[in-house]
């Protein structure tokens, strides 16, 4: 098991390194000479200043040296400097990271839990009106663009019914403390988390339903039934446990999609996370910041994949870890 974990971590590091190298070349592909762009962003553009910048950031060095410095920088969590925001990229990202983790974590938990529950419900009542209703709803939510769900949620729950706040992380100027603050943040969290959650819930519902129906037909379920086990036991211990395997795989694979969902949702709800930060970097064409966020998102996805790999093992002890 330890060897397996070590191997997986090594693999993740290699992939991360590849992403960093990709990132380096993407920055070089970005329009404009970085030094000139930086000078312009800093509000000065005379030759001397540009030359100084070039030297300071090693842009006068050959490409491999630059690449080496870039990789070394990232290894020490130095993601470069955002001239637009006048702050180190890593600092900007760290400030925003907790909000994103709160949002995506909540959304993920809601969607997985409710998705699996609805999937079980639909599979157990296969062919009835409840199954049809769940299946159709899941099909619709699966096809709805996230940013539009977000806007419709605002239209419905904020504009029309005035139940929930439509933007931000907390009520500005309210200065709540303690439990009141938690409630305030919670109220702001509901709409964005539900927006992301709805799409993923649809995915997990469909997957769980399909998987349950498939496992139910397998021979070992017939054996269990022939042994005279109670239906509840068969469903829980035999069908569900096996049916959840593809759902876990899917959940792991979808970490990247979750990040994409965070970009769109945080943009609509002005949620101060790294998705919103990516949008701000985009608007200002702040390439250092944009690619910094991209590296961090990729690292998060890798970490998440690693965790699902490990969970997978605990759900299915049959899996061998030859990797």
């Amino acid at each position: 098991m330890l060897a397996f974990i070590a191997q997986r971590i090594m693999k993740a590091i290699v992939v991360l390194l590849a992403i960093v190298v990709l990132n380096f070349f993407l920055i070089r592909l970005a329009p404009g000479d970085p030094a000139v762009v930086m000078a312009g962003e800093a509000g000065a553009s005379d030759q001397l200043f540009v030359a100084q910048l070039r030297e300071k950031f090693g842009l006068d060095q050959p490409l491999p040296v630059q690449l080496y410095r870039y990789v070394k920088g990232i290894a020490t969590l130095d993601l470069g400097f955002s001239f637009r925001q006048q702050a180190p990229v890593s600092q900007l990202i760290l400030e925003r990271l907790p909000a994103t983790l709160l949002l995506t974590g909540t959304a993920f938990a809601i969607s997985l839990l409710s998705g699996v529950l609805f999937g079980i419900l639909a599979a157990r009542r296969a062919g009835t009106w409840a199954d049809t209703a769940i299946t159709i709803l899941a099909l619709i939510f699966y096809a709805t663009p996230l940013f539009w769900v977000a806007l419709m949620a605002i239209l419905l729950f904020s504009v029309t019914m005035d139940w929930l706040p439509s933007f931000g992380y907390e009520t500005v100027g309210a200065n709540y403390t303690g439990f009141a603050h938690v409630l305030d943040v919670g109220a702001h969290l509901i709409l964005p988390a539900m927006t992301i959650g709805l799409f993923f819930m649809a995915t997990y519902t469909r997957m769980t339903r399909a998987s349950m129906l498939e496992v139910k037909r397998l021979d070992f379920v017939k054996t269990a039934r022939a042994k005279g086990l109670r239906d509840a036991v068969i469903q829980r211990r035999h069908v569900l446990r096996n049916a959840l395997l593809p759902v876990v795989t899917l959940a792991g694979l979808q970490a990247g999609t979750l990040v994409g969902g965070a970009v769109l949702t945080e943009t609509v709800f002005a949620w101060p996370g790294i998705g919103r930060l990516m949008y701000e970097a985009l608007l200002q064409r702040d390439y250092n910041l944009l690619l910094g966020v991209f590296v961090v998102c990729s690292a998060m996805v890798l970490a998440f994949n690693l965790i699902t790999d490990l969970i997978y093992r605990s759900v299915d002890p049959r899996i061998e870890f030859a990797a």
Binding site: P145, L155, V259, R285, F294
Partner: protein, 279 residues
Amino acid sequence: MKRFWKLLLRNPGGLIGSIILLAAIAVALFGPIVFPNSPWRMVQRPFLPPFTISALPLGTDALGRDVFAGIIYGARVSLLVGLVSTLAALAVGIPVGALAGYFGGRIGDALMRFTEFFQTVPSFALAIVLVAIMQPSIVSIVLAIAIVSWPPVARLVRGEVLSLRTREYVQAAIVTGQSHRWIIWREILPNALSPVIVLASLMVATAILLESSLSFLGLGDPNLMSWGYMVGAGRTVIRQAWWITVFPGIAILVSVLALNLIGEGLNDALNPRLNKEGR
């Protein structure tokens, strides 16, 4: 082929999806001819509510532009981007998967590592970065969507090729001394096609969602009206004018839903063994 359409159209979801998609294609092809109003031109006062003037059934946006015209012209962009980027992704994914599956060994391993890498990177974030760096245009959008969506094709094709290459007729072709290219193109790939078609129809749906998301964030082609752009532009005035965001969103939802229904219909038609349960 005929049987195949029959099977698809017998599936209620597949039938509904096909009808909607055909309607959308008709709108994209002929809409701008029947309805020559430019979606960018100011035609009435801004914020004209829908259903007040029959010539402008869906009202106008914040700049007095016709929302209905925008939806008609947007259909072109969505369908075109969806289709072309999927074809481009197939053009990368099929050869990579076929080579990896057919030759295996070191080449196969290397190709699959490469594929896994692209599958690990968060796709929407990569698409954003790519379009931002290449500058928004219809070409950069298509390229970015293709780059982030080919890995599943490669994996699927690899799996199919792996299982097909041990079949007797392929072994026979090898023994009779056919070239690798002939065997891959003429013997293996045609038989691996049906799952690829299913995947491709779902990929068009995903591509449309991706395009609209990029346009929504302001990364659309600035010269082309698209549904995502319309929702993005209407977002700030949603409190005054709900219709500017609601209608284009419905257009996206309906097209994506249609393609998903077709994908599932095709899946049922082409893999009749599956999906028997629960009916």
